[in-house]
């Protein structure tokens, strides 16, 4: 497994500042979870890359906000408006008219983060954070908590739990268990799909790159570009559909 260019300097800096990671004091399970590389590394590649992306977005987007213009917007404003309007229209279509503004902050953030981190796979010195299962699990858990919270806010706890009961009282205990399992499986499916797609494409491109470093990996990189856009769209639209399912009012 290759590391990104920031892996060495960041971990050397952290080790110089804080000393080696306290792997000896942790139980083996926690050690494998927190420090898979043992004494060598404080942070994994995906964490460093996610922080890098976070810092870049936190600097660039507020700066871009200052330059917003109603007349004659620049290319950067046009690009951002395209992404944001696409997400807003998507939510309007799926959840209902007027919902776009309400759910835009989180889903738009998902779109930005996932799209940019998928596109990081194009640079051989970076590693896409979404190619690791931990990052996408964090994203999926965020989405899971959000749609449940929105459902509870819309219906109240009892009303929301009633959603899971199904229409027939007789079958309610069975339906409840099945529904709970199915919404827990959403976390797994969201995170595995994203990580598997991005990681698989990154790996395949890397293998082609290793064979012949020019011309041969380009078709795979084109596929990676399509996949990056597609996986962003899929993650956002699935989150939107889950929210729509959680806040929907049943009509009888």
């Amino acid at each position: 497994m290759e590391h990104s260019i920031l892996y060495e300097p960041v971990n050397r800096l952290l080790t110089a500042l804080l000393g080696a990671p306290p792997v000896g004091r942790l139980s083996p399970g926690w050690r494998a979870f927190l420090f898979p590389d043992g004494e060598k590394a404080w942070l994994q590649d995906n964490v460093i890359m996610a922080f890098l992306l976070f810092a870049a977005l936190a600097v660039i987007l507020p700066l871009a906000r200052r330059g917003l213009r109603k007349r004659g917007p620049g290319w950067f404003q046009n690009l951002n408006e395209m992404i944001i309007l696409a997400v807003r229209d998507l939510i309007d279509d799926v959840v209902g008219h007027g919902a776009g503004k309400k759910y835009l902050p989180l889903l738009g953030t998902f779109a930005y983060f996932i799209l940019l981190s998928n596109l990081m796979g194009f640079f051989f010195f970076l590693t896409p954070p979404t190619s690791s299962f931990q990052t996408t699990l964090a994203l999926a858990i965020t989405s899971f908590i959000y749609f449940n919270a929105e459902g509870i806010r819309e219906h109240g706890v009892v009303g929301y739990l009633k959603h899971f009961m199904g229409p027939i009282l007789f079958l309610a205990p069975l339906m409840f268990v099945i529904e709970i399992i199915s919404i827990l499986a959403r976390i797994v499916s969201l995170s595995l799909r994203l990580a598997g797609n991005v990681g698989g494409e990154h790996l395949a491109t890397g293998i082609f790159f290793g064979m012949v470093p020019i011309l041969v990996p380009w078709p795979m990189m084109l596929l990676g570009l399509i996949g990056a856009l597609l996986q962003t769209f899929i993650f956002v639209i699935l989150s939107t559909i889950y929210i729509a399912g959680a806040v929907a009012h049943e009509e009888h």
């Binding site: 595995l192 799909r193 598997g196 698989g200």
Partner: protein
């Protein structure tokens, strides 16, 4: 399926299995690495079935768009969503293949 097809598949299986057996015999570390065989088999079956399903879905979507171009936008969204859901099952197989190949 025709008889020829079945023979072809059997021959291909034999051909793909041969290097695995040869490697296991050469290494001499207790026979075949079943993890590698299992991983390859899992991803092969998943990719074949997933490709078949995606082909059917795409064909149906194209047909629908050709018959009613006005509904192309909605059909495209549903088609992409369905393709991604089919593909995610193949991706699960890929993840499982990664996790068993070392064993």
């Amino acid at each position: 399926m025709s008889k020829k097809g079945i023979y072809g598949i059997l021959t291909m299986l034999a051909l793909t299995a041969a290097p695995a057996f040869a490697q296991g015999a050469e290494a001499g570390t207790g026979g075949v690495k079943w993890g590698v065989v299992g991983a390859a088999f899992a991803i092969a079956v998943a990719a074949a079935a997933g490709a078949f399903a995606q082909g059917k879905a795409t064909a149906a979507a194209c047909e629908g768009m050709a018959r009613n171009p006005g509904a192309a936008g909605a059909i495209r969204t549903m088609a992409i969503l369905g393709l991604a859901l089919i593909e995610s099952l193949v991706i699960y197989a890929l993840v499982i293949a990664f996790s068993v190949q070392g064993k």
